[in-house]
Amino acid sequence: MAEQIVKGSLAQIAKDNNKSIAQTFLSCDVIVIVDTSGSMGSLDSRDGQSRYKVACNELARLQGTLPGKIAVISFSNTVLFCPSGVPFNLDSGTHMDKALDFARVADVPDMRFILISDGEPTDESSALTAARKYKNKIDTIYVGPENEKAGQDFLKRLAKASGGQALQDFKVNALGSNIQKLLA
């Protein structure tokens, strides 16, 4: 099956302009780091859809609104750069530390980082250590259920570690508008 390429994603802009991903990345302003661990498959989001599915749709809509401005990185057990705009690899493990270490290559002047997760990482301490190494702020959006305080609290701490903001968007209710709120 052909890989889906979201309208406005880096891959689509690169393809349309016959340029490389690296060149297209020059106009990218935001790195969205998305948790794609197994829990994001929970069917408790809008219309009984999974958090992952709704997050993908919201991200796709956002990339269409801000073409070429958003780079997507997904993480679970593994970390993947997803220029097609679709976060993939739903797997066990929430290796946020690895994701933050990976994304730090893009910690260049004026870059925005938004981390989206529905729970606590596999290794909190390492994730906080990784966040503290950033020169830019990391904003976080919690997309898990309302009653799981530990995950919410952790994302607040992580945002604070880099001087960023923490928002809640329980069960991926209005992710697109929350990201836009952070970018405003």
């Binding site: 490389s20 991903i21 690296a22 060149q23 297209t24 990345f25 020059l26 990218c28 750069f81 290559v105």
Partner: protein
Amino acid sequence: MTVILRNNTYHVQFPYDPMMVQMLKNNIPASGRKWDNNAKIWQVDTQYESTLRQLFPNDKVPPVATQAKVLIETRVIDLRYVGQVKDRGMGETTAFGYSEGQWSVIFPEKVLRMWFEGFVDNTPGASDSFYSVLGLQKSASQDEIKTGYRRMARQWHPDQCREANAAEIFMRIKEAYDILSNANKKARYDAGLMLEASLGITPPVQNECDNYRAPLRCGLVMADGREGLGRFWVSKILAWEDLTDSFGRVLVASWPLGASKPVELWA
């Protein structure tokens, strides 16, 4: 049909027979054979000893001494033009270099890439980075970026370079310099390169017909290599300087569409 071994090269002679010539060409790539029009013989590289035996089973093909040494020597080549790399059936792509009135120098693609990019990367599009456009390695300093830009801009300026795509390449050189000379843009571009590299493959943004081309086409090149069939096979480039005249002008070589050989201009 006679096959003799002279100066570590096979000399193959037979009465003109188009079928036989075609058979020779089909089995031995252009880089491994050479027609000597004066002596009316085919010179064949000794690495094709077994091929010659298969082609001419009824003729005696003298064996190459097993201990025959391949002499690596260092030369300074007055290179007047180097073309596009192509697959010549050698198991590696090569470019021919024009020197002293002959296409007598052979550059394997990996040797050119190693010199201009500091690494060998065969992924599609890898030679399209802004660094390779300026003939630089990714570790290049700002001074090196500025020097690389000036050198490439002079070599590809459409007023001086008559290559069909000179204007296009010149624009790309300017674009590359605009990005790499700006610290913020360079940092962002480098980040993009690293993210792109994490994909393991580079999206095919280039035309698949675009073979690698060295960013410079002429120069005074110091290189290690070996002599074979009257050609010099480069195994390592040691230096590549601009060719200058007594007025300090730099040679710009280009091959305009329709021309039978490269055109030189001192700029």
